[in-house]
């Protein structure tokens, strides 16, 4: 299994971004890119030379929400093959259903924890626990 080394996090909530970053860092993931505005993440994906392996995507955001972001990157054919996991504060089953219908690979009810992240990463066929310099 390929180790997970690069994650993009899109969430307008600064504190939830802090939580996501700390959880990702606890697994030693070296490259964590975060945006509070989905439009900036679209620009990033359009111009980056190295796509992330995983995108953690908040659902409810002003300006462009998680579903609009998914639609946009699907139209522009950005992030093809990148695993996308939605993060939601909602306990409303409708949001889960909408996520299931959209082009994403997983759904996590906030808060993100080490256990929830492990579960999602395993489903995507990636491995956690990357250690820099230890080799594949």
């Amino acid at each position: 299994m390929q180790p997970l080394t690069s994650v993009l996090v899109i969430d307008d909530n600064g504190i939830d971004n802090f939580i996501s970053r700390k959880v990702l860092e606890s697994f030693g993931i070296p490259k964590i890119v975060q945006f509070e505005r989905a439009v900036l993440a679209v620009d990033y994906l359009r111009t980056t030379s190295e796509l992330p392996q995983l995108i953690l995507l908040d659902i409810r955001m002003p300006e462009m929400d998680g579903f609009q972001f998914l639609k946009k990157i699907s139209e522009m054919q950005l992030a093809l093959g990148v695993g996308i996991v939605m993060l939601s504060t909602s306990v409303d089953p409708k949001d889960r259903e909408m996520a299931r219908m959209s082009h994403c690979n997983g759904y996590v009810e906030k808060p993100l924890t080490r256990e929830k992240l492990s579960e999602q990463v395993e489903v995507l066929g990636l491995a956690l626990g990357y250690v820099a310099g230890a080799g594949g």
């Binding site: 504190i15 409810r60 504060t89 909602s90 906030k110 808060p111 993100l112």
Partner: protein
């Protein structure tokens, strides 16, 4: 009760005058317009805007049932009374089932004023109930929106607090991250407090509307 606008549909002018004469005798405060054809009837529905319609049953050009159907399409809330000499009890019952407010034989117009007043009162009550129902439905929709929004607004900071609590390093209390976690918990709790204040404010505003 304010002056009642009565539209009389009868192609017999003498009968129309007789109805007005009876109503004047009863002391009813009204203003009447008499029409005898379908065209003038439809025009009067728009231009005269009656409070009530008194319609003959058999007319030369059309009939009371059709007049009632036209009324149902154009001003469904306006009460409609059939006045006829030859309709028969059974037909009258059928018409009332179809929605006609009342029936009065031409030979017995004595209590027509009472029937008019009752029909208008009933129509007003129906309108009033409809308005109340609509207000309640609108308020319900508003409450549902507030409830759904607020469940999200409350759930969001709670999820953050749970996430922060998971990050706290109990094994190493001196871990500098712990200070960051606590500072963030304080921030989120303040947000949650603001949300609760907002909920209380919205609820008390709804109380005022109610």
């Amino acid at each position: 009760m304010k002056q009642i606008k009565i539209l009389i549909l009868d192609d017999n002018e003498i009968d129309a005058k007789m109805i007005q004469h009876e109503l004047k005798k009863s002391g009813l405060d009204f203003m009447a317009k008499a029409v005898g054809t379908r065209q003038s009837y439809e025009e009067a529905l728009h231009s005269f805007v009656p409070d009530i319609i008194l319609s003959d049953y058999l007319l030369d050009s059309f009939d009371g049932s059709t007049a009632f159907q036209i009324k149902e399409e154009q001003c469904p809330h306006t009460p409609f009374i059939i006045i006829s000499g030859i309709i028969g009890e059974e037909n009258a019952v059928e018409l009332i089932k179809a929605g006609v407010s009342d029936y009065s034989p031409k030979s017995k117009l004595v209590s027509l004023d009472q029937k008019i007043i009752r029909a208008i009162k009933e129509a007003n009550a129906v309108m009033e109930k409809r308005r109340t129902d609509e207000t309640i439905k609108a308020q319900n929709r508003q409450l549902l929106e507030i409830a759904s929004l607020q469940s999200h607004q409350v759930r969001a900071p709670i999820a953050s607090i749970l996430g922060l609590a998971n990050l706290f390093d109990y094994n190493d209390p001196s871990n500098p991250m712990n200070a960051e976690v606590l500072a963030n918990i304080k921030k989120v709790v303040e947000q949650l407090d603001a949300v609760v204040h907002e909920i209380v404010k919205n609820t008390s505003e709804l109380n005022k509307i109610g």
